[in-house]
């Protein structure tokens, strides 16, 4: 077809900030040439709430509660990393039982978070039955959280010097039972995502990011591991009780939407095994220091592997109750830039599925 000078081949379309396929508000200005995406500009700030400012007006103890409310799916990772930073400044070593209980809280959250993301993937491919099935399986993890922690999302498990919940024999038996129910279902879901042609057709070779591109944008978490980067904070910078556990780090090479979903599903299966290991190895003793420790003046960095990847906190204190500066960077903050590479050459119809594949958290990103 000869080019018609009257008709511009390239046009710009808006996606968001409010869009049926996006879970949270983010605005993408997408340049398209026919069906193909040629460029994207990301415009953020629609749910900026100033939580960072607020943390500098609250005491250390209040901030444990406040940071849990930055995000819902990785709510536990925020107070976990914040208290780790405070403990680094004060030189506190938490009791061994508390270290294991921290891992249990974190891994239960990871299971629920990852299952939510792969469920939404099924929804975006139009496979509603699979979406509802995965959400129903995820409900086992939600019930587990509600039973053990008393809440479906915010666990309120962390405190400076340890944890705020304990497990007795009855609760441990219940958890093992729930994990036994969950595990075969997760294996079946993995098989479905590996073989189902509806899923494969929409996700294989879509939204590809190469390893060197993922390194250049500083991608973290499942987005990085699906592109072949063997990096997991739990292994390279162990914290809590991860140095006493076997932490498998699955990686894939293709860097497409499907690989990212599979990494999350493998991690769900691994987390279930790690939860069982924790319950088996769980030592006795105290769950926290029994008092609110004073945090002296100092500075510290702490990081953990949140469901979406590396979460890092910087804390500066001056000996007062209120910290001088609290700063954190969530994994999604890094992974947005990866979209510039993933969108290259993709189709308009795949935009939503690619955005979902980085498991973006907007309220986390903008705080």
């Amino acid at each position: 077809m000869s080019a018609d000078p009257q008709i511009s081949k390239v046009s710009t379309i808006p996606v968001g900030p409010l869009h049926v396929a996006l879970e949270e508000p983010m605005y993408f200005r997408i340049d398209v040439d026919g069906e193909n995406v040629t460029g994207v500009d990301i415009n953020a700030g629609h749910v900026h709430r100033g939580v960072e400012y607020l943390t500098m007006k609250r005491t250390m103890t209040q901030n444990v509660v406040l940071t849990e409310r930055i995000c819902s799916l990785c709510s536990n990772s925020h107070p976990e990393t914040f208290v780790m930073a405070a403990e680094n400044i004060a030189g506190i070593t938490i009791p061994e039982r508390a270290a294991f209980l921290r891992v249990i809280a974190a891994e239960v959250k990871r299971v629920a978070s990852h299952l939510f993301n792969v469920a939404i993937l099924a929804h975006l491919t139009g496979y509603e039955m699979l979406f509802m099935h995965v959400m129903q399986i995820r409900e086992i993890a939600q019930d587990l959280k509600e039973t053990v922690f008393g809440n479906r999302m915010d666990l309120a498990a962390m405190c400076i010097g340890g944890v705020r919940y304990n497990l007795d024999a009855e609760m441990t038996a219940y958890m093992l039972g729930a994990l036994d129910k969950l595990e075969p279902e997760v294996q079946a879901i993995i098989k479905t995502y590996k073989t189902n042609s509806s899923i494969l057709r929409r996700t294989r070779g879509v939204g590809v990011i190469a390893k060197d591109e993922a390194i250049s944008v500083g991608a973290v978490g499942p987005v990085a591991r699906a592109a072949g980067i063997d990096y997991d904070v739990r292994v390279v910078a162990p914290y809590a009780a991860y140095n006493k556990l076997t932490v498998p780090v699955p990686t894939l090479k293709d860097g497409d939407v499907w690989s990212r979903a599979m990494i999350r599903l493998y991690e769900v299966a691994n987390s279930i095994q790690m939860l069982r290991d924790c319950l088996k190895l769980l030592p006795g003793g105290a769950i926290n220091l029994g008092e609110r420790p004073d945090i002296p003046a100092g500075r510290a960095v702490a990081k953990c592997e949140a469901p979406r990847g590396e979460l890092i906190y910087y804390l500066k204190t001056n000996g007062e109750e209120i910290p001088e500066r609290v700063k954190w960077r969530v994994p999604s903050f890094m992974n947005w830039d990866a979209l510039h590479f993933m969108f290259k050459g993709s189709k308009i119809a795949d935009i939503a599925i690619i955005v979902n594949s980085i498991d973006p958290c907007v309220s986390c990103t903008e705080r």
Binding site: G45, A237, P238, V301, K316, E324, R325, M334, D337
Partner: protein, 210 residues
């Protein structure tokens, strides 16, 4: 697969930053190193960044902060001995507090912390900038520097020289700059200011006049 922070990092940082460095490093019980490196001159930032690119570092986060001026009362509360010696030396005026490198700590200057990850170890490089000052942008060396630098530019009165896209990141362009340095009423920030009637009623309730 990952190389950790090299043992001779201090010497290599010093070679890259001829202006001088303030280095400290600590390894925790789980074998993870947290190192800190203050730079005397922000001009050295580029050569330090080049070194860190060679080492395969990943720019993990940039934290900007505006350290408050040290409280005056605290100095008086020191123990008796210190007080005695201070009495004798009273005519000698104490030098104004400064950061490493000589930037004043008077509540208006900035400390920019660059947190680098090297195979799980964390190296924090610190640059100091005066109020309304600038530091070189690290975007030529580290692509992930872009968003954090834009965020710091909208939060504080500091700029990153050479940033390719210095637009606002989260905060709307119509809002005054350096929002983190001032109290901005939430209603103004979200453009949801209430009517004058409500304000009049609030004042009337307090017994004042509008």
């Amino acid at each position: 697969m990952t190389t950790r922070l090299p043992t001779d990092i201090e010497a290599r940082l010093l070679a890259a930053a001829p202006g001088g460095i303030e280095f400290s490093s600590e390894k925790n019980v789980q074998g993870v190193t947290y190192a800190w490196c203050g730079l005397a001159q922000t001009a050295d930032l580029a050569s330090v960044a080049k070194l860190l690119v060679e080492l395969g570092a990943r720019l993990s986060m940039i934290s900007g902060l505006q350290p408050p001026a040290p409280a005056v009362e605290e100095e008086e509360e020191e123990d008796d001995e210190a007080e005695d010696s201070e009495d004798k030396a009273e005519p000698v005026e104490k030098p104004a507090p400064t950061t490493f490198g000589g930037t004043a700590i008077d509540g208006t200057t900035y400390e920019i912390n660059y947190h680098f990850d090297i195979g799980g170890d964390t190296l924090t490089v610190i640059a100091y900038a005066p109020h309304e000052g600038s530091v070189p942008s690290l975007t030529p060396y580290f692509r992930p520097a872009s968003w954090p630098e834009r965020e710091i530019m909208e939060m504080y009165a500091v700029t990153f020289d050479g940033h390719p896209d210095p637009r606002r990141l989260f905060i709307d362009a119509s809002i005054d700059k350096a929002v983190l340095e001032r109290l901005i009423p939430y209603s103004t920030l979200v453009n949801a200011a209430s009517t004058k009637d409500l304000w009049d009623r609030v004042l009337a309730g307090k017994g004042g006049q509008s």
